[in-house]
């Protein structure tokens, strides 16, 4: 699968359903009812709107197909994959799943997908109990079994871990464990207390803890040769601003949108402020008229970032700022360059 040069890419995180068979403690969803879920005809119209935007902007689309749990809508998921496979506006797509619903026939189907880059599953630890306290009973065994089946089928597998106080000391060992299971890429997100995750707010990292974890991930990522540790995330640039594979500017307002199960558009799934509805408003109106997007595009409006030399490659996480400080333009509470911030 070709990698798209960053400047040419536009990313859609597409939640085709809100339904999920798991109830992870840190989940950013508040509801799993999927009220107003789009029909397949509406999903197709959604994709046409995305393709129109990609063509108008001369960008190549990258997609994450997710939920909820996308395999709760297996038939629609596969039909969307067919459409993406046949679209000249699409570079590749990933499927973000908890992995627990995949069946043998699904694996065969995934192997035939033309533009499927990776299947991403979530795991919180290499220790079953530590994982299952967050993701539910037996989740660890099912996810690891899914990883092994996907790898046996020759598919590329990514693992995402959400870092809390509960698993922050497990990352290096986890990378080793995942490499043993032939996982291709590993990435971390800092836990943000939102949605269902508001109930475990006390597990959020402090600034010092976040720094230690990101530095540990960076160190392990540099040393690890068996899998790629992806560090395209805000704040990683604080560790090594000279390495182009480390750190990435928050994509809000520049090259990404999130589309929810009912067509609602968010700047990012972790920043659930509705910008409009993709079917009712269209992408261009949302993209060009949103005051939120225009504010985030202007680094001088982001507290703590305007004078920072890393502003082209970081700007912190606007969602973290919003959920912790109540203002998406405030400083990322984990940014250790901002001496005045306290986590």
């Amino acid at each position: 699968m070709v990698e798209i040069p960053p400047g040419d890419e536009f990313y859609f995180q597409w939640h085709i359903t809100e339904k999920c068979n798991l109830r992870c403690a840190h989940c950013y969803h508040e509801s799993y009812e999927s009220a107003g879920e789009l029909t397949f005809a509406e999903l197709e119209a959604t994709l046409r709107a995305m393709e129109k935007a990609l063509r108008a902007w001369g960008r190549v689309g990258s997609f994450s197909l997710t939920g909820g749990e996308p395999f709760m809508r297996r038939a629609e998921l596969f039909r969307i994959m067919d459409r993406l496979d046949g679209s000249d506006a699409v570079g590749y797509y990933d499927i973000l799943t908890n992995g627990s619903l995949l069946e043998r026939d699904d694996i065969s189907r995934l192997r035939t997908a033309g533009k499927l880059r990776r299947v991403q599953v979530s795991l919180e630890s290499h220790i079953a109990d530590e994982n299952d306290r967050i993701r539910g009973r037996d989740a660890f065994a099912r996810t690891v079994a899914c990883i092994d089946v996907l790898k046996d089928a020759g598919l590329e597998v990514a693992v995402m871990a959400t870092i809390t106080k509960a698993n922050m000391n497990s990352i290096a060992a986890m990378i080793d464990f995942l490499a043993d299971h032939r996982v291709d890429t590993f990435a971390v997100e800092r836990f943000i207390p939102e949605g269902s995750g508001s109930g475990i707010r006390d597990l959020m990292l402090t600034k010092d803890e976040a720094r230690r974890v990101l530095e540990a991930v960076h160190e392990a990522g540099i040393a690890e040769r068996r899998l790629r540790v992806l560090m395209y995330r805000p704040l990683f640039a604080l560790i090594n601003s000279h390495d182009p594979t480390v750190g990435a500017m928050c994509s809000i307002g520049t090259n990404a949108l999130t589309v929810m199960h009912d067509g609602t558009v968010y700047p990012c799934r972790r920043l659930p402020i509705p910008l409009g509805n993709i079917l009712a408003d269209g992408i261009f109106k949302i993209w060009y008229d949103s005051e939120l997007l225009w504010k985030v595009r202007d680094p001088s409006k982001i507290e703590g970032c305007s004078d920072c030399d890393l502003v082209p490659v970081c700007r912190g996480c606007r969602a973290m700022a919003y959920h912790v400080r109540g203002d998406y333009l405030s400083a990322d509470p984990h940014c250790w360059r901002d001496a005045e911030c306290t986590a």
Binding site: G282, F284, K285, D298
Partner: protein, 90 residues
């Protein structure tokens, strides 16, 4: 009588002091000069040709006749780009 098309969104981007018109139907975008932006902003507020001419004359310290003629020329260009509707057209 011109008015700003409903499909057009205009914006002054402070960060680089640039002026833009965006077509929210087909995604086209046009970088404007300050004068064109002032004219479109005036139209968005319902200003007519005379008021726009007076605004430009005041802004740039030029005669009203010259300003009105310039506004008329800019409006013609903007209409050719599809950024304007004429009265009765939507």
């Amino acid at each position: 009588m011109y008015r700003l098309s409903e499909k057009v969104s205009i914006r002054h981007i402070e960060a680089d002091d640039s002026y833009w018109a965006f077509d929210v139907q087909d995604g086209s975008q046009y970088e404007l000069n300050e004068t064109a932006f002032l004219i479109l902003a005036g139209l968005a507020k319902g200003a007519g040709l005379d008021a726009l001419g007076a605004r430009i004359a005041e802004e740039y310290g030029i005669g009203l006749d010259i300003a009105t003629r310039d506004v008329d020329a800019v409006l013609t260009n903007l209409q050719e780009l599809g950024l304007l509707d004429t009265e009765g057209e939507s």
